[in-house]
């Protein structure tokens, strides 16, 4: 029996593999079997999946950081919304 950290490690490997794009129907079947094997597996997987999805919000930081680096003259008055 795996402890929670080991389960999390396995869940992360599955999720990273799925996210990589190198993913077959055999992989999908294997993952489904692993998820169905224990509630703890599903909990770990969903937790990591939610975190990884939320990491997209970092774009909000990227947008403003890019803005700060943009030269003043790069924004013409025509683009102004106000």
């Amino acid at each position: 029996m795996h402890n929670s950290l080991q389960i999390e490690e396995i869940a992360a490997k599955w999720l990273a593999r799925k996210d990589s794009g190198n993913w077959s129907s055999a992989d999908e079947a294997e993952l489904t079997a692993w998820l169905e094997a224990a509630t703890a597996h599903r909990v770990a997987y969903i937790r990591l999946e939610a975190a990884w999805r939320r990491a997209r919000r970092l774009k909000a930081i990227a947008a403003v950081a890019a803005l700060a680096e943009m030269p003043q003259q790069a924004v013409s008055p025509a683009t102004r919304i106000d």
Binding site: K13, S20, A51, R56, R57, K59, I61, A62, A68
Partner: protein
């Protein structure tokens, strides 16, 4: 095709000067972007989002519109920022390229000059760090008698004050 971040920034013309003068502290950037975007939505201006700006990012703004959710959005961004600041540089680069710049794993491997398997390893590690930052740490068992919420709050407080 223009960079989505820059296109988006073009819509935020009015805060440009203030941001450019700033020492670029993250907290300042959060505040400025949030206020500006919320302001835009309140005035019901139409903001054109390039593909790649999905609902996840928009939720940052939508959270602010609904008062009962306004506490969450800031904390999520702060926790994410801390989490991405902490990992080793390579791990951080991989998160940024995959989640912010939307590069494929193959592309990231090529840019960093490492194998795809290594990128995948960094992604797996990053997911765990991000989850710990967002939802509380898995690294120790919770003490008996304490609620999960309490543990998470403590962890959050630590994240925010460090």
């Amino acid at each position: 095709v223009p960079d989505p971040a820059l296109v988006f920034c073009g819509t935020m013309r009015s805060c440009h000067a203030a941001v450019a003068r700033s020492p670029s502290h993250k907290s300042f950037l959060f505040t400025t972007s949030r206020h500006l975007l919320v302001d835009r939505i309140r005035r019901q201006r139409v903001i054109s989002f390039e593909p790649g700006w999905d609902l996840d990012e928009l939720n940052v703004l939508v959270d602010e519109i609904s008062p009962q959710r306004s506490v969450g959005a800031d904390e999520v961004l702060r926790a994410l920022a801390r989490a991405i600041d902490n990992p080793p540089p390579r791990c951080r680069q991989v998160v940024w390229m995959r989640r912010v710049e939307n590069h494929s794993q193959k592309e990231v491997a090529k840019r960093l000059g490492i194998g795809e398997a290594m990128v995948e390893k960094h992604v797996a590690k990053a997911m765990r760090r991000l989850a710990d930052a967002l939802f509380g740490c898995q690294c120790s068992e919770k003490p008996k008698g304490e609620t999960g919420n309490r543990v998470r709050e403590d962890h959050y407080a630590q994240q925010l004050t460090n």
